[in-house]
């Protein structure tokens, strides 16, 4: 089996999962598709090295996160994470429920990535730190802050819904 065959086999098996992670990061399926394709292209180019890593999926996730963060950096004029979710559409349509995914979108990109890796991908703190190339202490503290923020956002929503 050639390197390319191995890559195609891996990519076919994991593309959907990578796209789901990308969607959770950007909340746009089309952008998620683009990010996944870019990440897979980069993985293809570094396949020989990637194939030597202990955890190929973590390696691919790492590339995907970098692609996402680079994309966000390049699009400096794009949406920015806001501390509050008081968009007019939301206020005018109380039946629109604030979902966990929407609350996640309120977090800065890096914090969003930490929460997704930690609680959706079930990564350990150490593995998140490795993937995002952050100190473990930063991952821990940012996770705590992000969870507090998510709780606040979702609690506000519950009050609005049931108050």
């Amino acid at each position: 089996m050639t390197d390319e065959d191995q890559f195609v086999e891996f990519a076919n098996a994991h593309a959907e999962r990578l796209r789901t992670t990308a969607f959770m990061l950007c909340r746009d399926w089309h952008l998620a598709q683009d990010l996944t394709q870019n990440a897979l292209t980069k993985l293809f180019l570094s396949w020989r090295r990637a194939a030597q890593s202990d955890n190929l999926m973590a390696y691919a996730q790492k590339i995907l996160l970098r692609v996402f963060l680079d994309h966000r950096r390049r699009r400096s004029s794009s949406e920015s994470a806001s501390a509050m979710l008081h968009e007019p559409a939301y206020r005018e349509s109380p039946e629109l429920r604030l979902t966990m995914l929407e609350a996640l979108a309120c977090l800065p990109e890096r914090d969003r990535a930490i929460v997704i890796l930690r609680y959706f991908e079930d990564y350990s703190v150490e593995r998140v730190a490795d993937v995002l190339e952050l100190p473990v202490s930063v991952v821990k503290s940012q996770t705590r802050r992000s969870l507090t923020k998510l709780r606040e956002l979702l609690a506000e929503e519950q009050l609005a819904l049931f108050g």
């Binding site: 990519a11 959907e16 969607f23 394709q37 897979l40 293809f44 995914l101 150490e126």
Partner: protein, 277 residues
């Protein structure tokens, strides 16, 4: 979160994998063409300069020179007085890196030296540098001691790691090769900067040798060992700034390196593991 995802209706995935493979192939092709183009341009420059030299030789006036000026040519005026003085005294021999025995000490956290390499570059065919060749050459340039933990970066950068134990315990050295856009020949003298970074154990001392053609060689002397993502165990500082400068200034480093070196390096370190942090 999973329940919410289940309620999403994602569009079909489509041929993401095929598109990635095609884009990857295109990028690879472009890179190869770029390397081949650069190589062809280099050969053309060498042929042209050789041709010019051959034609200009007979026209050169022959002037008797005083006997006391028969030493090697002075280094280009890129360095300070120290570098020029060192260059004038430097013996020219391939593979050697003449350097002042003790560069001046300074209280400044960074200092710059001009280190004459003694030779432009090794003759013979050259190939694109590999991490294996870097590790191989690094083992030749490190002072005597036991080397171990040879590893390479997880991406495709020319970035390698090596432990050295000179008898007092292991210490870590990492080095990186790169090339900045620059015109002109490589020259014979790199500018070497030495920086101390007290709060970064992976880069306790950072030595960068910059050549006129844009080639940059960075040697990081660590005061800790490779970490597990959480902490880095303490290590010995196994190279003095002068020793690191000597390694960084070796003329054999480059984004292209001697073909034999590449071959030997790949045979010896082609399967080196990946370092993480």
């Amino acid at each position: 979160m999973r329940a919410e995802l289940n309620s999403e209706r994602p569009p079909p995935l489509g041929d993401v994998v095929g598109a990635a493979v095609r884009a990857g192939r295109r990028t690879r092709r472009r890179r190869r063409i770029g390397v081949a183009g650069a190589g062809a341009a280099g050969v053309l420059v060498i042929l042209l300069s050789g041709s010019l030299a051959a034609h200009s030789e007979p026209r050169r006036p022959v002037v008797a020179e005083p006997a006391d000026q028969s030493g090697p040519l002075p280094a280009p005026p890129t360095g300070g007085p120290l570098g020029r003085a060192a260059a004038q005294k430097a013996p020219v021999s391939p593979g050697s890196v003449p350097i002042t025995a003790t560069p001046p000490t300074t209280r400044s956290p960074e200092r710059n030296l001009a280190i004459p390499s003694g030779t432009d570059s090794a003759a013979g065919p050259r190939k694109k540098a590999t991490t294996g060749a870097m590790l191989h050459l690094l083992t030749q340039l490190l002072p005597p001691g036991r080397t171990s933990h040879a590893a390479v970066s997880s991406n495709e950068d020319l970035y390698v790691q090596m432990y050295l134990d000179r008898g007092a315990g292991p210490g870590m050295v990492r080095m990186m090769l790169g090339k900045l856009p620059a015109d002109g020949p490589r020259g014979t003298t790199p500018n070497v900067s030495v920086s101390q970074v007290p709060d970064n154990c992976l880069q306790s001392t950072v030595v960068v040798a910059r050549w006129a053609d844009g080639t940059a060689v960075q040697v990081d002397v660590a005061s800790c060992l490779a970490g597990d993502g959480r902490t880095n165990p303490p290590g010995r500082v196994v190279l003095s700034p002068d020793e690191a400068a000597r390694i960084a200034a070796d003329p054999r480093w480059g984004v292209t390196m001697d073909a034999d070196l590449i071959k030997q390096g790949e045979a010896r370190f082609g399967g080196a593991p990946v370092f993480t942090s």
